[in-house]
Amino acid sequence: MKKIIMSICAALSLAACNDDLLDISPSDRISDNVVWTDPNLIKAYLTNVYNGLPHGYKIHMQSKMTDECVCTINFGAGIIPLGSLSPDNVGSVSIGDWTGGGNLYNWDDAYKYIRNINLFLDKMTTVDMDNKDEMIAEAKFVRAFIYFDLLERFGEVPIVDKAYDITSTETFTSSSFEKVEEFIVKDINEAMVNLPAYYKSTDANFGRATKSAAQALLSRLYLYAASPLFNESNDRTKWQAASKAAKDFIDTYTQYSLYPDYETCFNQPTGRENSEVIFSRNFTTTNGHQNPMNNLGRRYGAYGGWWASNGPSQNLVDDYDMKNGKPAFIWNNGVKSVNPESGYDPQNPYKDRDPRLDASVIHDESVYHGDTFEMWISSDASSWGMDHYKQSGDNPTSGYQMRKFMPGPSEELSWQVTYTQPWIFFRLAEIYLNYAEAEFELGHEDVCREYINKIRTRAGVGILGSDITGENLRARLYNERRIELVFEEHRYFDLRRWKLAEEVENRPMYGIAITKDVATGKKTYAEELLVKRVFTNQMYLLPIATSEIRKNGGTLLQTKTWRK
């Protein structure tokens, strides 16, 4: 018996001595001091920073928030077309939303990555490793790009250039457009010193920051800075800066050229040869996207329509020129009518159009992936095509589907495939259009036409003659940008910086109704009103969420257009 007591007591005292019982280090995480002494982990840290540049392959693409695609919902992305956007609900178009929110409200995400970069730049002051200067330059480029993303949305934002810690009580104040622009230019210039000139699209480093990408960012930044929304006094020097930045690019980086075929420029998997793309976000089959399945209709099992679709609008389709280079429609005092000179036939609407229409939009009778699309309904409503929304609510109601970025016939279409079509941030055609626009504003219309025509020639559409001048040329220039850069997250911002949104984004959105006569089989086409749109002038800029204003205790003012 004594033995038992002894052993119980012994066990008791043994257990009591076990003081380090609670000292357990985490088995699934790395600690701070390990990270900043290991070059591989530091590189990995920098890798994640690039995620601060969001790609546009979202369930709700930005296209449906402008006049490229139709959006019929009244929540999420729908608050933009319905005009019910406010500081209270702007979070529902946040890029952190499950739909991707059309990459619109990026405040929270942007500042998260800015802090990541600020912390990186801070830690790198004491790190000694190979490639250090280039890594710092990469981080600064990404920071500059993120600040640009903020600036085009909000017009003025706080400049945060250090990583605060949890005990900080700092609140923030927005800096003016010019101040933020200056900050971005400084980052770009500092980055350029140590960045490599460029990478080919087949290079293992393609997708990392380069001098050419930095110059392209500069070109876009200066173009925006010169635009009416941000250049109220129409300061001509700003247009000169925009022109110079674009021209410098064109003269310096002669490695780039327009890719011969417009459609394949966008629908090739990651890693293919592409002479036009300057900077893009690449993907792999393990780190890819499902953009085709979010956009193609029910034919391939896609959910497109359920998510209120990124179905292209009739408004967009109408804006494609005829192949002969003439606009299919003319606008007169806000009223649209068929351009009699163009040869456009409203009952054969897809014939002889700018080839970029077929490359960007799937319409009735389009052949895509070996399938002929059918968006018609019979005159007695007893039968309909497989791609009509009556067949399935997952077909877009507009009668069009997105074709740009959609994979070619060799790729399987299924939810189980992850797609790797890159998301293009910068390509040469944009630089040409930037240059054309700046030169137009400087009065050099011939240069403007020359660069537009380079793009039209590649597309295979009639070029602009020297008879197109003045406001007429401006309209064609703007439309060229709409068509060439469609779905690439330009239109939303272009309409705003041109101050045209109040006109364009107040127009109702249309789709196409194709009726097939039961007896004759003949199809008739009529535009169909789908949704009424509302744009209020506040919406030129995005509001900052109410909660964020409040958290800053009064120092952070609401975005200019939203101040009461």
Partner: protein, 996 residues
């Protein structure tokens, strides 16, 4: 001054025994109105000196009626104490020991296993609803195997996890709800400071489950078997095709800006076809709920138990099984469960006894490969315009090509879970010191879970109007056969040593206990994935494609530990004045080393005022009244560990060229000062029994103040800081108070025995401080309001006319037929400043239970009602009607909606716009349910004893039989959030009990 005449004194001795003649050890014998007293010895004898010759002795013992005996003329008394049925002689588990209910000073609610067994609910957790004052049980789902209710004690008092600590046979264990109800001896809930014995985990209260043990006597076999039929308590009615299409037209017209000339989505001709069903292929009218629902689901449950033993050894062997099937067609769902238990106690020597309690649960669940909420979206809100099956029998695609009738083609998610719980105990009474003993236990629990998620491609048919053929379409899910095997294992090892002392010195009773406990937990998991199986015939990982892009694997692991010291001291004087002190020093690995240990003390006092003569003499109808109060500190450490370190995780990969580059990212910002939440609990109350048990009452008032509540400062730190997620910090302050009342009545009238028991609990919390920046309007502050209260717009009906709309402020996008939102701050704008804090949440403030038992001859009946009030629910699915995502809506929502033709409608228009949630759709979820009803008949003993059967009983019982709901009449009122979940089940059950 004259000296009083000294009374004559002498010595009196005697024996105290119960009515059967057995002696009573430890009975109190005291000279009335003096402090002169003693207790009876091991032979029930006592000897008391200095007793006045005409004195009266008061003899009392817990569980017996105390009695007064005159000593006049007697020197050797034979005293018999009658059993007191009213003063419960039961013992109550209080953590590391038990106490007699009568001398308990803490606030502990208990329910016996017999009471739990009465309910045919497959889940033990559901059977607790309404049974225990202070325990709030809310059943939110009825899915077999996934029907665990939410259980909290006295409402929420923290901003984080408010779930209680669950201790089964001394160890923190999961699966309480999966226990075999036949194995449960009792469930006790420590609500007040008495929980402090569990220190840092006790602030949310503690549930102690004690399982049955063997008992001395001839072996008793018992056998139970029952069969139940279950179906949903309430299934919402959805729109038929005709109404749906009309609603769709309305909402389409609104979104086009209400044009004067309108081509409807659905023409009158089409509407007619939907209505008359003349074209079931193109114009069907599908009632998805009836297509999918079975008339009932089958549930069977059986158990077998043997117990017995002798004075040296007692044993219990128990086996139980439960099997549940799906309530829906083509829905691969099952829950099969087998439980085993062996409980042995052996007295090895006079002073040393050992015990083992080993139990296991073998649980096999089969579920669909798709998340339940998706399945229920596809059942509930599929458009009625989609065919479920074509007239020729072919199955159609349904919503998103995910018709619920296709679920059985899409593979299964099988989960095998087999936890084994073991407890080994030893008690050694130290010879020579009366009442001193050493106790220890070693517990080792392990659980292995193997999950096999086998996903199959599926197909359906779609009618092609052009070819008039049925095209075979591939489903939207997997296009190849894919399998993921996940193996997870958990272990818990716990030692615990206690030294305790329990003795009585005259009228003084002293008990003390000191102990230490150490616990180590581990978790590890690994998984393997392959796709592109050639065939679905073998669901093993090695059969899948060996191509590297078709394979994937993963895994993770975790370790945690605890170290604690605890103790308890009890003192009572003649079972009249009661004192308890307890403490725990708790070490939790969740905190940095300098913040790891906390000290949690508690004290409680009791006064059995009914033992005082001024009560005894004057109020003979009082059996017992005990006043009690307690005060103590407990902690809560339920937060993520390692928050004091800045750590980085792998992730945030990015592609350069055509290669994925690994990334790392910083986790939550570190908080070097993180430590416990602290709770101070104060309780005061009384227990009473009157008129020989005709009325029993227990009342407790409580106040809890929770401080240093761990919460993230999400509401005040600008996102512009760019922090990755914020750590928990000890910042919140919450007060919580309320009361519990329990009343009992039992009586026998002739051959009818009956008892009634009711309880009601009320708890309301208030945030005293929380991290928030001041709102523009004070009515938006969380401070001063309950946890979880949401900002919401106040609705005032709808805008019936354009004039009304024009006359009142409204948000952009508002049209006639939309909800009228009150401009609370009267600034002429409807914006977020007009939202106010809604004081109620889905957690009820008041819960109640009312039960009755009746026995008459061979018949018995048990009935139990349960309910709640002070809870509100916002169901966003209910709010949605005619939205562009083409979902179906609730019939109740569409009725009397505003339309151009129904301008006086009371419900908002189709596709209504509201800038945020409004009170329009906030509904009171008060209800009262007939939770269970059981009627049994036992065959007469004289009949069955001939075949050596001691008890044979047949019964019929029901669960969730009837629900009366205040506001929510279209679905089960106990839901939280959207009604897109597996509904709560009503069970009708037939069974038999057999004992021999």
């Amino acid at each position: 001054m004259a000296l009083p005449v000294m009374a004559q004194k002498r010595t009196v001795s005697g024996t105290v025994s119960d009515p059967s003649g057995s002696v009573i050890i430890g009975a109190n014998v005291i000279v009335k109105n003096t402090t002169n007293g003693t207790i009876t010895d091991l032979d029930g004898k006592f000897k008391l000196e200095d007793v006045p010759s005409n004195g009266v002795l008061t003899v009392s013992y817990i569980g017996y009626k105390s009695t007064d005996v005159s000593v006049k003329g007697k020197s050797n008394l034979k005293i018999t104490l009658d059993e007191d049925v009213t003063v419960l002689n039961e013992v109550v588990a209080v953590g590391y020991g038990t106490q007699k209910k009568a001398t308990l000073t803490g606030s502990v609610a208990t329910v016996g296993g017999d009471d739990i067994k009465k309910s045919p609910a497959p889940n033990v957790g559901s059977s607790l609803a309404g049974k225990l004052p202070g325990l709030i049980v809310n059943q939110r789902s009825g899915e077999p195997g996934r029907d665990d209710p939410s259980i909290i004690i006295r409402g929420a008092a923290t901003l984080g996890d408010s779930s209680p600590l669950i201790i089964i046979d001394g160890v923190e264990r999961s699966n309480m709800t999966r226990l075999n109800p036949e194995d449960i001896e009792s469930v006790a809930v420590l609500k007040d400071a008495s929980a402090a014995i569990y220190g840092a985990r006790a602030a949310n209260g503690v549930i102690l489950v004690t399982t049955k043990k063997g008992k001395e006597g001839k072996t008793e076999f018992s056998f139970n078997f029952n069969v139940g039929f279950s179906n949903p308590t309430k299934t919402p009615k959805m729109l038929d095709a005709y109404t749906y299409a009309n609603v769709a037209n309305e909402s389409d017209w609104y979104s086009k800006g209400r044009p004067a000339s309108y081509n409807p989505l659905y023409t009158d001709e089409m509407l007619q076809k939907y209505r008359d069903g003349s074209d079931p292929i193109l114009y069907p009218n599908t009632d998805w709920v009836s297509e999918c629902m079975r008339s009932s689901a089958l549930q069977t449950r059986g158990s077998f138990q043997a117990k017995g033993g002798n004075d040296k050894m007692q044993y219990l062997l128990s086996f139980g099984m439960l099997s549940q099937g799906p309530a829906y067609n083509n829905y691969p769902e099952r829950n099969d469960q087998y439980t085993f238990r062996i409980n042995l106690n052996a007295e090895l020597t006079k002073n040393l006894s050992v015990g083992a309690n080993i139990s296991a649960i073998f649980n096999q669940q089969k579920h669909t490969t798709i998340a339940t909420w998706i399945n229920f979206s596809n059942i509930m809100i599929s458009s009625p315009l989609l065919p479920a099956r074509y007239p020729n029998g072919l199955l159609a695609g349904g919503r998103l090509g995910e018709s619920p009738l296709l679920l059985d083609q899409r593979g299964t998610d099988k989960i095998k879970n087999s936890p084994v719980y073991s407890t080994f105990t030893a008690t050694y009474k130290i010879p020579g010191v009366k009442g001193l003993k050493l106790e220890g236990s070693f517990n080792y629990d392990f659980n292995n879970q193997f999950e096999k998620m086998f996903e199959l491609p599926y197909y359906y048919y779609e009618y092609n109007t052009a070819t008039q053929q049925y095209d075979k379409m591939n489903g939207t899910g997997q296009s190849t056969i894919a399998l993921r095997d996940t193996y997870s294992s958990w272990s818990t090892m716990m030692y615990n040593f206690r030294i305790s002392y329990d003795n009585t010195f005259g009228a003084h009773h002293v008990a003390a206990m000191l102990g230490q406990e150490q616990q180590r937990d581990t978790y590890s998991s690994a998984n393997a994935y392959r796709k592109n199986f050639l065939s679905s015939s073998i669901d093993q990982i090695n059969v899948g494609s060996t191509a590297s892009e078709d394979k994937d694997n993963g895994g993770s692991g975790r370790k945690t530990a605890r170290n604690n010291y605890f103790g308890r001291f009890n003192y009572d004087f003649m079972s009249k004045y009661l004192v308890e002190l307890l403490f725990r020093v708790d070490g939790s690995q969740n905190f940095p080393s300098n913040k790891r240990y906390g000290f949690f003390p508690a004290a409680s006092l009791g006064w059995r005022i009914s033992e005082e003569s001024f009560i005894k003499d004057n109020y003979p109808f009082i059996d017992q009244i005990k006043l009690r109060t307690s005060l103590g500190k407990t902690g809560n450490d339920k937060v993520a560990s390692y928050q004091y370190l800045q750590t980085y995780s792998f992730g945030g990969n990015y592609v350069f060229g055509s290669t994925v580059n690994s990334g790392i990212y910083a986790n939550t910002m570190p908080n070097a000062n993180i430590t416990w939440e602290k709770s101070t609990k104060f309780d005061a109350g009384f227990d009473a029994s009157l008129w020989n048990g005709l009325l029993g009452a227990e009342f407790t008032y409580f106040h809890e103040s929770r401080r240093d509540i761990l919460a993230a400062r999400n509401l005040s730190i600008p996102n512009t800081m760019g922090f990755p997620s914020l750590p928990d910090e000890n910042i919140g302050k919450v007060n919580n108070n309320g009361f519990e009342l329990r009343l009992t009545h039992h009586n026998t009238v002739g051959k009818l025995f009956y008892s009634v028991e009711g309880n009601v609990s009320y708890a309301k919390n208030k945030i005293v401080f929380m991290d928030e920046t001041p709102h523009t309007e004070a009515y938006q502050d969380l401070t001063g309001r309950p946890i979880g209260s949401q900002l919401i717009y106040k609705a005032d009906g709808i805008f019936n006319t354009q004039e009304e709309l024009d006359a009142y402020p409204h948000a952009n996008g508002t049209q006639v037929g939309d909800i009228k939102i009150v401009d609370l701050n009267k600034d002429g704008d409807i914006d977020s400043d007009d939202q106010y804090r809604f004081d109620y949440t889905a957690t009820p403030r008041t819960v109640f239970g009312l039960g009755g038992t009746m026995r008459y001859k061979n018949w018995d009946m048990n009935i139990f009602f349960q309910g709640q009030s002070g809870a509100y629910n916002y169901d966003s699915q209910f709010a949605s009607l005619g939205s562009s995502n083409k979902d179906n809506a609730f019939k109740k929502r569409a009725e009397n909606r505003w339309t151009v033709d129904n301008p006086n409608g009371t419900m908002p228009r189709a596709n209504a716009y509201q800038p945020g949630n409004t009170t329009f759709f906030m509904y009171d979820s008060s209800f009262i349910r007939l939770k269970s009803l059981e009627i049994g008949y036992s065959l007469p003993k004289e009949l069955i004893s001939k075949v050596s059967i001691s008890d044979l009983r047949f019964y019929v019982s029901g669960f969730n039989l009837l629900t009366l709901s205040k506001d929510i009449k279209w679905t089960d009122p106990e839901i939280s959030g959207q009604s897109l979940s597996y509904p709560q089940q009503r069970v009708i059950n037939l069974g038999v009990n057999l004992k021999f």
